[in-house]
Symmetry: C2
């Protein structure tokens, strides 16, 4: 999972920031601001370059905010496994990314492949919608 062998001060800080915010999606500027506020300033280009690697390694997920062109990043680890065995649901209102482990999802995708000839890519597909909490709070 960890293919970036060089461990620098900057990389530690970026990873820490992403991990501390695993339930949020962050823009590059968010990361820069947070680290700068903590007194751990990092160069912008460094953040971009490292995020690219993390995305390629599958350790971070890249989204795009509806409307604008800013890329949003979110830590993708889920302790137990490599995230290919379950599905991702993302609250449109709150931005939270949750992992949904459910037999029915798998059966459903098996159905889509069998009956519709379409092989869903679990890594790329995200369900967007309103999460439990936002429903309760009347958001969305």
């Amino acid at each position: 999972m960890i293919s970036h062998k060089y461990v620098t001060r900057q990389r530690k800080d970026i990873l820490r920031c992403l991990r501390q915010n695993r339930d949020r999606h962050l823009s590059v500027d968010d990361i820069l601001r947070m680290l700068s506020d903590e007194g751990c300033a990092v160069g912008k280009a460094t953040v971009y370059r490292f995020l690219d690697k993390l995305v390629q390694d599958g350790e971070v997920r890249r989204f795009t905010s509806d409307g604008s062109a800013v890329a949003l990043y979110q830590y993708n680890s889920c302790e137990q496994d490599d995230c290919t065995e379950h599905f991702h649901i993302k609250g449109s209102a709150c931005g939270k990314l949750e992992h949904l482990d459910c037999e029915r999802v798998k059966r459903f995708f098996a159905h889509v492949r069998r009956e519709h000839g379409f092989e869903v890519d679990v890594r790329r597909t995200v369900f967007y919608g309103i999460c439990r909490e936002c429903l309760r709070n009347g958001r969305g």
Copy 2:
């Protein structure tokens, strides 16, 4: 569905281009090039502005290509209805957007709401994966 009351030469051309390519996603530059090749040149700003409206009206869908920041647009109509009653699957290899009408999809999303408290937004959610044709041709 049609809230853009002004019908100009440019808007007709842009819509025609999108409709003729309903099975592909187009970048703004694609549209500009195609129209220019047909001798129907349109200003870049006009394309951006009109696409914004179409996306807001739900007549066009906006994607973002993996990796780069280019926005991709695709005509969203499916003759029969307004696309809220079925689901969208998009081939990662070929870029084709298909409409999947299937009782099981609805039942599956009902399950997600009931058991997981998550209300999937049909309009925003797209399944990515490999379509029948690409599977057959060994693509992806």
